[in-house]
Symmetry: none
Subunit: 197 residues, 4 copies
DNA sequence: AATGAATGAGGTTTCATTCAT
DNA sequence: TATGAATGAAACCTCATTCAT
């Protein structure tokens, strides 16, 4: 008796998720280019062949990871703008971003690595572009928040905010043990809030 | 009549420099992993075989590029501390860093890419480490400047300064056309200088 | 109530026939080696697994197709020799062969392709051999017809007849639109019949 | 001291020829699809990698073989039309074709196999097409010969000639030991020549 | 110093076949 | 009978590196 389509769907989803989890883990550790499909499959406890049942190839697999990441970022912004005051919104964004990098510095580092990939690398340039686009998108939404704060130049202010945030995240992800994240956050958030009281 | 050893050494260095220039150029465009030794050799106008005469391999070649980069950064700091006042020193550091990223955003992007390489990538982890170490070293030297400015917490202040700087550089290198570099620089430098007048 | 064994057998044969029809169709279009078992199964509207219920594998499936083809050819010969005169027998053979290639040029092409398969191809050499054997067998039966026509060298004459026939079939199957099949048939049949009036 | 470009060219040509010879040999024996690149390389006494230095892949390798074959056929026709009389021209064509199949029946079989490849096989359809085109081209040149013989329908007569020839070649290549090639040739050539005296 | 032919390890990918359900 | 997830062997192909010249 064959499995029902629903049962198959469930099995497929479990396997796909298992593969994605294994992939992000080993990509973060060894890097995308230095990771072989076999590495991913072994890490996921499945065969090479099965991986190709679910993903067209390494590139395709990476794409899905990146899309998930994009979605995560987008959702943070959506949550943020639901908050009542612009100040809380900015705080939420900063808090979330920094908590994220604190909890998974290697993941942030990995996606930043991807984002900085040379543009003409045939293999990952699309992923790089996707992450960059999301970064820009985020900055535009932020600009609206600064608008509500009556900033003289909301777009500039938003970029300033983003650069400050990413600067901290960048350095923390490179030196989780050498960077006093909480203190930097405190200084950074304050310096922006002070201006708009 | 045979060349003197010194003359040989000089010629050898010119050749090595030519190769490095070709390598950085093609690495920046296609990425380290997606660039073959043949690509580099062709770009340098020499044969694959000859390249191995000057560099032990692809990895070795990258190492030398990174070491050069490190040296550049180090020299900026050395120049900076020769200036008379702490304020000028900070300004020099910021100016130089931002001018550098403005002139060669793709180079900055490339080295950042390298720096964010996953730690256990057998091939480039050493390079990544070297650039990271230099970043930290720079921050320590900066801390001394903030000390002279009677900062309450010089190290923290130095890190804050670095994160602000790198945040701008990061975003500019990703979007040279969408980021108003000069304005961000102005805001950033001012916000730091204001505190210490 | 369970089906009788005969009923089961009948159903099984219907399924097998459905698979064979799907297989020959896709083999003709894409070629045996370039067709995957999945292609066949999809074309037959069943699952991969079920196909293995009916055929031991891809090779086995091909074998059955070839055996069917052999049987077809054999039956044509059996029908032919039932006819009253040798002349009619030859005409029947030629008519049938040429009608067959006219109706399904791609099928003839496919079996010819199979027949010309290199001898040591582990996968299809048996099939190739089977078709070749049948070709020879046919020529022997034909020789008997020429004997009845008092041919000086019946075997040679039979071969001559076969080569003429296969030559037309070969070229027509390669260029169904560029070969005037009827005219060639007329010329060919006539040239043989003339000799034996 | 590096080799001169000419020397390199010579070495390359030797290697390419060695590979082609090995390829045709093993393709004929095992079949194109059942032959791996490694098989070819081993047969040529070189490494897999080197083969890719000279040919883009298996398909590309096959293409060169087919082009050589095409050239051979074309040259026969060119030689033929240099002969003084149409009768000699036809005789030359028949002689040459049959001598060729007699000397290398497996080669003829192989190219015929290729020619009959299903049209939509992504891998070899181009080769198949090339050989077919040449066949048609040959028939057109022949038609001119028949024109000079004042044939009523030169094109039809040419096709008839071609089918007769290919029919013999087909059957001989399948059964080199069972087919009296010389006798068939005699009969076939005579039957065409008789008509035009 | 200089070349590029040659190697081979290691990666990607396909697919016939098996098997739990 | 029926399914398709899962396997793994075997193919394809790339490229860092070596080496004869």
């Amino acid at each position: 008796m064959p499995r029902t389509p629903e049962e198959n769907e469930r099995i497929r989803n479990i396997s796909k998720e298992k593969i994605r989890a294994a992939a992000i883990d080993v990509f973060i550790t060894k890097g995308f280019h230095s990771t072989s499909i076999e590495d991913v499959a072994k890490n996921a406890g499945i065969s090479k062949g099965l991986l190709y049942n679910y993903y067209k190839g390494k590139k395709d697999l990476l794409m899905e990871l990146v899309e998930n990441r994009k979605e995560e970022i987008r959702q943070v912004m959506e949550e943020a703008i639901k908050l009542p005051s612009p100040k809380e919104q900015l705080q939420y964004i900063a808090e979330h971003a920094l908590r994220n990098v604190k909890e998974q510095p290697r993941a942030y580092r990995f996606y930043l690595h991807l984002q900085t990939h040379p543009e003409e690398d045939q293999i990952v340039s699309v992923c790089s572009q996707m992450l960059n686009d999301e970064m820009i998108r985020q900055s535009r939404v932020q600009a609206e928040i600064f608008q509500k704060l009556n900033a003289v130049n909301p777009q500039l202010e938003s970029l300033h905010f983003s650069t400050a945030l990413h600067g901290i995240m960048l350095m923390y992800s490179m030196h989780p043990n050498g960077i006093p994240l909480e203190q930097l956050k405190y200084e950074m958030v304050n310096s922006f809030i002070e201006r708009y009281i």
